[in-house]
């Protein structure tokens, strides 16, 4: 009897937690799937399928300030590329990041939304309008 009520409580808590999560600004499953497909096509060989990167060469995308922090900076890295000395969690990476400016605003938004909510990351979604805004500031 006691065991069942504990189970029921746990179940209730879980359901509530799940409901609470789904109340957050929802990322449509379709966008995540698109983001994942685009990630595989444009990002995976360097950053790896699980976002772990390559030691000394290509930075990891797992719980780093670059990924979780300022959205606009992250969008800028994709649009402009990055070829400068960057320290991430005490390590340095030598390969250049090529510009992905040829991708559409929506595609970049989908990729970044996927990256920011995968590999253990939990950060807000990126909207195509966010990308558009940053793109407008780049010559």
């Amino acid at each position: 009897m006691g065991r069942i009520s504990i189970l029921t409580c746990l179940l209730l808590v879980t359901v509530t937690a799940v409901m609470a999560q789904t109340k957050k600004p929802a990322v449509a499953a379709g966008r995540l799937a698109k983001g994942q497909a685009l990630y595989k096509q444009h990002c995976m060989s360097c950053h790896q399928e699980n976002g772990s990167g390559v030691p000394r060469m290509n930075p990891p995308l797992i719980k780093t300030e670059y990924v979780l922090g300022d959205k606009n900076r992250l969008i800028g890295v994709l649009l402009k590329g990055l070829n400068e000395e960057v320290e991430i969690n005490g390590d340095y990476y030598s390969n250049p990041m090529p510009s992905q400016a040829a991708l559409k605003d929506e595609e970049i938004a989908d990729i970044l939304t996927y990256v920011r909510s995968s590999f253990g990351n939990k950060a807000s979604a990126v909207a195509p309008a966010d990308v558009k805004k940053v793109r407008a500031t780049i010559q």
Binding site: H42, C46, N50, P55, R56, E85, P98, S99
Partner: protein
């Protein structure tokens, strides 16, 4: 007369050697073999071989040099607390380092002992330190700056180096590019024609080993068309420079209409070249297909996976599987290992990263038998198990990655690891 005196000198040296060998009853010069670790340092080796961990936790240990006394200089990728070179000593001769000191406030990869000097490189410069009779450095603060101002644009930055027996220094200057595209690593971007990178990078430069302050203008572009060489060695038998090239990446990512993911994982070969002054190994215009056994025109220059190219480019001596990243090359001149290993080549493969979604490859040391300066049989895996996992799905999973190779005075083979900074010593147990 010259020959006579040379003979006399050799005889004297031989006697001196004998005296030294018999005089030593303990310490690192002791010919008594060291004891391998019970688990052979976690390595899988051919029958009769054993291994021990000499030192651990050094950081990103790139190349290594072992002195005639058996002490070890380790070049770190980044200086730690102002120390970019670690000196390992073994006072009781058990093969385990029991004293570590450091100096040299610069990170880098290259390190090599030649005569009375230790040569070491940052990613732009080459320095040398004077060694005393015990091959130790008395003045670690004031090295001579032999070469300065080599190009470093971060990608392929390692200035690996080796010396010949005629007073020359050979330095790799890797191309700061994957395939000389107008936009590096950008899908569909075509190659620059001619590739302007080759003026100052993408080759091996030769400098005088004993002249300070040399720049490009003082050196010779000895061999070109080499995308990035981390492992290189001077073959004393052939009196010739041998290099291992890191082949290009991302054929599928950059030209998805021409190459499948599978082709991209399997192409191109990682190649061993024997070079001489003026050699052109073909980068960026061609790559080597190990299945067709042909030099292929790169897609950036009009290739499609079928068109051949590079008629004047060198052919590789050995073509290894793609992307395995050869970071160390050593011709074995010792006598501790059995006959088959003598004068053959050991190659440390750092391990691949751009074979996904397949498992990665490499993360081992291979051996290529040589006869009269030419490969005389198929290559084989010599030491495996560095990664600590049966299959490496992601490069970050590898616990250790082989990087540098060196031979000890007793013929032991040393391997450095640039993940955790483990120094391995491989011995033959007889």
């Amino acid at each position: 007369m010259y020959k006579m005196s040379k003979l006399l000198l050799m005889a004297t040296l031989a006697v001196a050697n004998l005296t030294v060998a018999s005089a030593n009853t303990s310490g690192p010069d002791d010919p008594k073999p060291v004891k391998p670790d019970a688990n052979n340092a976690g390595l899988k080796l051919p029958a009769g071989f054993g291994a021990l961990v000499v030192a651990d936790g050094l950081g990103r240990a790139r190349h290594i040099a072992v002195t005639s006394k058996g002490d070890i200089y380790v070049k770190l990728d980044r200086a730690k607390d102002g120390k970019g070179i670690i000196f390992l000593e073994d006072s009781n001769g058990d093969g385990k380092s029991d004293k570590q000191t450091g100096f040299g406030n610069f990170g880098g990869t290259g390190i090599y002992v030649k005569g009375d000097y230790l040569y070491a490189s940052s990613n732009t410069d080459v320095y040398r330190y004077k060694l005393d009779a015990a091959q130790k450095i008395t003045d670690t603060q004031n090295p001579e700056n032999i070469v300065t101002g080599l190009i470093n644009r971060r990608q392929h930055e390692s200035k690996s180096l080796v010396l010949d027996d005629a007073g020359n220094l050979y330095v790799n200057v890797g191309a700061y590019s994957n395939s000389c595209q107008e936009k590096d690593r950008t899908a569909g971007s075509m190659g620059m024609q001619p590739c302007p990178i080759l003026d100052s990078a993408g080759g091996i430069w030769q400098f005088k080993a004993d002249k300070a302050g040399q720049h490009y203008g003082d050196g010779v572009r000895y061999a070109t068309g080499l995308r990035n060489v981390v492992g290189l060695d001077w073959n004393k038998q052939q009196n010739q420079l041998f290099v291992m090239q890191h082949g290009r990446d991302q054929l599928h990512d950059l030209f998805p209409a021409l190459f499948t993911e599978k082709q991209s994982a399997d192409l191109p070969a990682e190649c061993l070249y024997a070079v001489k002054q003026g050699s052109d190994c073909g980068w960026p215009y061609i790559y080597y297909d190990p299945y067709l056994k042909k030099k292929m025109l790169a897609p950036e220059y009009g290739g499609d996976g079928k068109k051949t190219g590079g008629d004047n480019a060198e052919d590789p001596l050995v073509a290894f599987p793609a992307h395995m990243a050869p970071n160390g090359l050593l011709f074995y001149t010792g006598t501790q290992f059995p006959e088959k290993y003598r004068n053959g080549a050991f190659i440390a493969f750092h391990g691949s990263w751009n074979r996904s979604p397949e498992n990665q490859a490499g993360y081992y040391v291979v051996f290529v038998p040589f006869k009269n300066g030419k490969p005389s049989g198929d290559w084989e895996v010599f030491a495996d198990g560095f990664a600590g996992t049966a299959a490496v799905k992601y490069p970050g999973d590898a616990q250790h990655r082989p990087c540098g190779l060196a031979q000890g005075p007793d013929g032991s083979l040393y391997v450095s690891d640039d993940v955790k900074g483990t120094i391995y010593r491989i011995v033959y147990k007889k």
